[in-house]
């Protein structure tokens, strides 16, 4: 078993999958804390469906570099969705649900009408649930992913205090002159980038798990923003590594396995939180 693992780990394709997995897990968990606390957990879900719709369009047009369509469309949707915040009539969650199912249906519809590939069901399935076997990533894809991830992490560290202020109390920030609109825009763009990256790993239907589980697990145990952020990053990375390794050894779909690992981790954190609070509550 150990030998088998070492054998796999020495192969570039597995190394690529691990590197990309860890980076995506890290990025999504960092912003997950903000999203969960802003009551925007579902935005990951909505955006990934938009990304799916955009990808279908790209596939139908026959673009070789699908990112050219997917990334801008997702970013614009993210900006629009986060704008429907507290001060408008249509509530954020309803808007997200609407766009989410709309994009999903539209994407599947045009894929079926124009049939850009011979293996339609397989393609749709792997976009929705991630690759069935190990991720197949090329060198350049890995490089793009590394660059974008480093950018996301750097932005997060640089704007950490501002993100806290905007998340905890947006109105207060605005009242004392913080450009909250600009920070919300930044958060929206970064989230869109993460979603597009993560789609490769776990597929559009399971992305929310990467965003939500680490934050919720951390909030079970820790009680200040910094610890919650740090722990959710660690949690997410550990679960993703476990998920990728198990999926290789047990030949299970990688996305679903990672989500299962997150779920198990969440259970453990609930238990720890329960015990730490002396069984009360």
């Amino acid at each position: 078993m150990i030998d088998l693992l070492i054998f796999y780990l020495s192969r570039p394709i597995v190394q690529y999958a691990l590197i990309v997995g860890v980076l995506i897990a890290l990025c999504s968990s960092l912003l997950g804390v903000t999203l969960v606390l802003k009551r925007f957990s579902f935005i990951g879900d909505g955006l990934s469906h938009v990304a799916f719709g955009a990808m279908s369009i790209a596939a139908v047009i026959g673009l070789t570099n699908q990112m050219l369509i997917i990334l801008p469309v997702t970013v614009i949707s993210a900006v629009l969705l986060l704008r429907t915040g507290s001060n408008t009539r249509i509530k954020g969650d309803a808007a997200i649900a609407m766009i989410s199912v709309g994009a999903l249906a539209f994407g599947y519809l045009i894929m079926n009408i124009f049939k850009p590939s011979s293996n339609l069901t397989g393609d749709v399935c792997s976009t929705l649930f991630g690759s069935t076997a190990i991720l197949t990533l090329t060198g350049p894809e890995v490089v793009v992913c590394i660059i974008l991830s480093i950018l996301v992490i750097a932005l997060f560290v640089f704007f950490y205090n501002k993100i806290f202020a905007v998340t905890f109390d947006e109105n207060f920030g605005k009242a004392v002159g913080t450009p909250t609109g600009a920070y919300n825009l930044l958060i929206a763009i970064v989230i869109a980038v993460i979603i597009v990256l993560a789609m490769k790993l776990v597929g559009s239907l399971l992305i929310s798990a990467l965003v939500i589980f680490p934050a919720l697990s951390a909030m079970r145990i820790f009680r200040n923003f910094k610890s919650v952020t740090v722990f959710s990053a660690v949690f997410s990375v550990v679960c993703t590594i476990l998920g990728v390794i198990v999926s290789i050894l047990a030949q299970t779909p990688v996305g679903a396995t990672i989500v299962a690992a997150d779920l198990a981790g969440f259970g453990i954190c609930c238990l720890i939180g329960f015990i730490a609070r002396g069984g009360a509550k």
């Binding site: 606390l37 640089f158 205090n161 806290f164 207060f172 004392v176 923003f225």
Partner: protein, 237 residues
């Protein structure tokens, strides 16, 4: 020239006015209480004063060296805050955010300011505690300390005592009175007319009728008499 002057100010949402036009002014050192029944537009007025939303009509002038973002703010509690994992220190420090501009981290002066304001509000010993584990009164003091970090001249408090028990309410009022004596201008929203009459120097009554004047004038006015009587009746029930 006064800090804030409103002339026939109309507030509301999406073109629909809430209540009648309002005129009042706030001068340095004042303690203004905004009273009125639930839904009369107090919070809406507060948001307008803070530039969170635009007035629908009339004028809102800030002057006497008060810049628009020099008003510290104690919001009515929002549900998001109730289960937010944040320590007291993190929250108070976030009051310094506007001073940072693009600088990513807080500098020593800002950390000192946060520490001083925690001591001032008597919550320094709670610095590492989680906000959501605190009692209602302690939470309000945390938010007050944050507001003091953001602005030293004017504090705008939206129902600072709602949900607090009588003893803590009294302490809160004393704390606010102390800040006013230190020279901070206070604008407080409340529907507790007793307290308004007791602590405020000026009263703005909004709702069916609008009244603005000093406390003494209010007590002589029709609105003041009516509401004081109503509260008396409420107590005798």
């Amino acid at each position: 020239m006064s800090y804030i002057e409103a002339k026939n100010l109309i507030v509301g949402y999406e073109g629909e006015a809430v209540g009648d036009p309002i005129s009042f002014e706030v001068n340095p050192g004042d303690y203004l209480c905004i009273v009125g029944e639930n839904g009369s537009g107090k919070s809406t007025l507060v948001k307008t004063l803070l530039n969170l939303q635009k007035p629908l009509g009339g004028e809102l002038i800030t002057g006497d060296g008060l810049r628009k973002n020099e008003i510290g703010y104690l919001p009515q509690q929002t549900p998001v805050q109730k289960d937010f994992p944040a320590s007291v220190k993190e929250i108070v420090l976030s009051g310094c955010q506007a001073k940072c501009g693009l600088r990513p981290f807080y500098n020593r002066a800002e950390k000192k300011l946060a520490e001083d304001n925690m001591k001032r509000m008597d919550i320094f010993s709670l610095a590492d505690r989680c906000y959501r584990d605190l009692s209602g009164g302690q939470q309000q003091r945390v938010l007050l300390a944050r507001a003091l970090c953001a602005a030293e001249k004017v504090l705008l408090l939206d129902e600072p005592v709602s949900g607090l028990d009588p003893k803590v309410t009294a302490q809160m009022y004393e704390l606010i009175e102390g800040l006013n004596k230190e020279g901070i201008t206070i604008i407080m929203v409340s529907h507790d007319i007793d307290a308004a009459v007791r602590y405020a120097s000026h009263i703005l009554h909004i709702g069916d009728t609008v009244f603005f004047g000093t406390k003494e004038e209010y007590l002589q006015s029709r609105e003041g008499k009516y509401f004081l009587r109503k509260q008396e009746d409420g107590k005798n029930d």
